[in-house]
């Protein structure tokens, strides 16, 4: 019972953080709302019994990725965002349509798939189980992902370095 209450509360906090992320006009506030979203997601994982995923969520997303976001915002000294009030069509049709389609999708998922419900903590979330999955069953996708990340990093380095060389050649030429 307590689990369910906590789960709902942190679910609400998560959604509220996400909405606040969109509503805030200053990038730092938006980034901090995203930290709240990450943190409450971690709590949700924890309540579902996936303590390892919860810890990694905090360390990687809240502790590293979002710090880099904040760092970049601070470095660029990004100012307040200018907002228009949005088109009337979006308010009248877009938002109700999104809500309606979300409700339909959720309803379809809950009633027409055989996912069923599971007791909290019934599924393995222990580090050893995750390691077993990652390094035995899904070893190939795991390694391929690591190569993808490596390629992405190299791409970023190439892009960053190229603008510099282009500038230098402009100055010289």
């Amino acid at each position: 019972m307590l689990h369910l209450i906590l789960f709902s509360v942190f679910g609400l906090v998560c959604v509220a953080g996400a909405v606040n992320l969109l509503l805030q006009r200053h990038p730092i506030n938006s980034a901090l709302s995203l930290v709240v979203v990450m943190g409450s997601l971690a709590v949700e994982f924890l309540l579902l019994g996936a303590e390892f995923v919860a810890a990694i969520q905090v360390i990687v997303y809240a502790g590293a990725v979002m710090v880099l976001f904040v760092f970049v915002i601070m470095l660029l000294n990004a100012g307040e965002e200018e907002q228009t009030r949005g088109s009337r069509v979006a308010w009248l049709l877009g938002i109700p349509a999104v809500l309606a389609s979300m409700i339909i999708v959720c309803w379809a998922l809950i009633t027409h798939s055989n996912v069923g419900s599971v007791a909290i903590g019934a599924l393995p979330g222990h580090p050893a189980d995750i390691a077993q999955l990652l390094f035995h069953q899904f070893l190939l996708p795991f390694e391929v992902t690591s190569i993808l990340v490596l390629i992405a990093i190299m791409g970023a380095v190439v892009l960053a370095a190229r603008s510099e060389t282009v500038e230098r050649s402009k100055r010289e030429g």
């Binding site: 901090l32 303590e51 990694i56 905090v58 360390i59 710090v67 904040v70 760092f71 601070m74």
Partner: protein, 346 residues
């Protein structure tokens, strides 16, 4: 154990640990002033109480009664929240750290630890990785160039060294096979070759990991020689330039609480936690001696912190980054690979 006893015991333990931690923080400041003083041929604090022992209390009263200035151009919500974030995350991580074996009175038994979770080490790493927000946000919200530069330096430095720090601990995790801090300490019990204690620092090349950990941890806690975020010769006081009174004291407390956490982790992961001769004397002494051995190690680490501060000059910023990324990180990865190979071959 019924739920009521559990709550009462937890509250008592939390209050006790917080009291000890904050006292340790206050007296680490005293120790630092005293030791650095003697290293520089001065006396350090001598006036308040014998050997200046009441100096922390005097400092605390001073901080409480000072005027709490808020500069006019700060971004107020974050300016006020930042020191709280720093101190909360610094203090919270102590919750999963074990200090000794079990405390037994009659039928009642409880571990010397607020709570034992099976991902204890990850909890500590996660909480301390959130502590950087306090520093970064204080730098940004102060709306001052010195603070901003300090905050930027701090976040870049903490992100960079966190990787080396995390990787240096993986070797220990491979050897211990658990994330639980109590489990890691138990994996270090006993001796090999009859007399050398089974500590991880002596096993499978973890000697290297120990030094990577200590170096990275010094950078994480913004201590000399990595105190670039508050380099007073360049940045006035860095990220806490615009803070005064208790808000400044909170940053101070956070820094020293983080030092204590680093010392705890280093003792638990590399130096066998609370192991030491404790099988003599009456029953109560046998239970309390591990606490003493653990405290002794923490004292040793804190002393080394101060010793390093009194000895080394500060890095230049590019040197700091180059050292972290080009030396410490490859070394940590190499250590990890070697440890993994050793464990697989054994």
């Amino acid at each position: 154990m019924s739920i009521l006893t559990f709550i009462i015991v937890s509250v008592i333990k939390t209050a006790l640990v917080l009291f000890v931690l904050l006292t340790a923080v206050a007296y680490t400041v005293w120790l630092e002033r005293k030791v650095v003083g003697h290293m520089q041929n001065r006396w350090g604090p001598t006036r308040v109480g014998p050997f200046g022992l009441l100096q922390p209390a005097a400092d605390g009263i001073k901080f409480l009664f000072k005027e709490d200035l808020t500069p006019p151009h700060v971004f107020k919500p974050l300016y006020i929240a930042a020191p709280m974030i720093a101190v909360i995350f610094a203090v919270t991580s102590i919750a999963v750290i074990p200090f000794g074996n079990w405390f037994r009175v009659g039928n009642f038994a409880t571990p010397f630890q607020i709570t034992d979770v099976n991902i204890g080490l990850l909890v500590v790493l996660g909480i301390t990785s959130l502590g950087v927000y306090g520093v970064a946000l204080s730098g940004w919200s102060s709306n001052s160039k010195y603070s901003l530069l300090g905050g930027l330096r701090a976040s870049a430095q903490m992100i960079s060294y966190e990787i080396a720090l995390g990787l240096s601990l993986v070797g220990v995790l491979i050897l211990a096979g658990t994330f639980s801090l109590r489990g890691i300490v138990e994996a270090q019990s006993g001796h090999f070759w009859g007399f050398i204690p089974n500590w991880f620092i002596f096993r499978g090349g973890q000697f290297v990991a120990f030094f990577i950990y200590l170096t990275a941890a010094y950078a994480e806690t913004n201590r000399i020689p990595f105190d670039l975020p508050e380099a007073e010769t360049e940045l006035v006081a860095g990220y806490h330039t615009e803070y005064s009174a208790m808000k400044f004291a909170m940053f101070f407390m956070a820094e020293y609480a983080n030092m204590v956490t680093v010392a705890c982790l280093a003792s638990l992961l590399f130096l066998g936690g609370w192991s030491g001769p404790h099988n003599f004397g009456p029953e109560w002494l046998r239970e309390l001696l591990p606490l003493f051995w653990f405290a002794l190690r923490i004292f040793g680490f804190l002393f080394v912190y101060i010793w390093v501060r009194g000895t080394l000059p500060r890095f230049r910023y590019d040197q700091l980054m180059a050292f972290g990324w080009k030396f410490l990180l490859p070394l940590a990865i190499a250590n990890l690979v070697v440890t993994a190979v050793v464990v697989v071959l054994r």
